[in-house]
Amino acid sequence: MRAYQDFREFLSVLEQQKQLLRITDPVKLEPDMAAASAAATRLGNRSPALLFSNVAGYQNAQIVTNVHGSWANHALALGMDPETGIRDQFLEFVRRYRMFPGQLERVTSAPWQEVVIDKDINLFDIFPLFRWNHGDGGFFIDKPCVISRDPDDWTNDDVENVGVYRLQVKDRNHLGIQTVPQHDIAIQLAHAEARGEDLPIAIALGNEPVITLMGATPMLYTQLEYKMAAVMQGQPYRVVQNEKGLDIPYGSEAVLEGRILARKRQPEGPFGEFPGYYSGCHQYPVIEIDRVLHRKDPIYESVYVGRPWTELDYLQALTTSAPIFDQVNATFPEVQAVNALYTHGLVLIVSTKVRYGGFAKAVGLRVLSTPHGLGYAKVIIVVDEDVDPFDLNQVMWAISVRVNPAGDVLMLPNLAENLLDPACQPSGMVTKMIIDATMPVSPDIRGDYGEILETPVGTDVWLQKLEALTKELRK
């Protein structure tokens, strides 16, 4: 466990760990940023962050991508050994998640207050903005932490919200924002708009890595992301409160202060989105920026979104799995782990002990009734506790030998689904499926299962020994 002071400290650690690659060759914003970042996602489990410092048209701009873009970087973000496997990262993430809440630490100043711009703001001049995908409607800020409060409960810290929402830069000081109705900020915006008032917001860019993960976690409305970040890093979370009362991370590179304009909508999009398809173009809310604060020579961070897997899939991997596990396990303590790594949990694998015949199907149904299950989980695969849901070789084995489609596949027509899932028919509706890949137990007497092969005695000891030896061999 470790608390990073700021974004730059984390980049330094990535560099020390050989998980950051400095690109000093000249690059063009289009298409090099997208091409290099897409290529980085194909480098495997040790894919590094990319720091570009020779950007066409700029004297000294720095752009960093793929910061969370590998299991090694994800582990380092959580202060863990970069070699930590996915299942162990999941178990540790859940352990900390269940220690909620931690504490806020309010301080009066932060490095991002070094430079203040409050007139003639031009976001295009301040940040090296660029297009990610060819059909995107413009240049998007896509890895921000957007901070807001509830106008109907303004001083209640627990309903303050930190969320990662895509922002299209519309002109010099206006942004479009995607706030789908399930998002917490949509509740706050509805309260402000019912009053006919603008919603004050702060947008933090280039953040230390934990708060970005928390902003991407579908927590409850009354759970403050900073208090979850505090238990994730093992220390109170340091923030600076601005004049409006919004708490802003101490460790950010830049902060945009502004308002979501009441009752105003403008064309926004398309944008290449997490399912690997472009979103459509909609009339979305508009933000007006009143003030920009930043460190000298701010490092601009962005996340490439393309056909999975990309950095985005790491951002919404364990952050999606842990809340679902926590909610399902509270009802069914037999549930061992949840793997919601695939496309924000559109496909999801649950491992569970099976108490009696039909139990696994009930577990699958419970997943569908979690908040995330209502709008995302579409294909649920339930496996026994002896199958690691994070090891697809094991999952495919379970499906191979423990599924008889005649009795193990449940189709549930016309359930709610996120609009961004292109398989919806009509938009927002889909048929969902539960695959029971557990071995039938009494009174479910289907199949002809004899004795299962056992793992040889001493395998675990040998595994540790061989891992150490192979590590030595590769030094």
Partner: protein, 86 residues
Amino acid sequence: MSAIAQGAIQACPRCRSNTVAVRAVSPLAGVWTVYGCDTCFYTWRSTEPETNTDPDQYPAVFRLAAADLPKLQVAPAIPPLQAKKP
């Protein structure tokens, strides 16, 4: 500005409106210019491929008609105004 004045940029590549403005020029002079459309809010850089910058080569699948913009789905819906709270 000069590019518009010279007629190099006449219409938005996506919606063909004539509401195009310069958003920024490169800090190192002469490398690129960023343009934006005040009707559909499409944004592009002068150094991008013509399929991003030229209305005639912009992909049909991404084109928008200015007249259709008000018909786009509104999300989230705008709630009714409440009576003023004390």
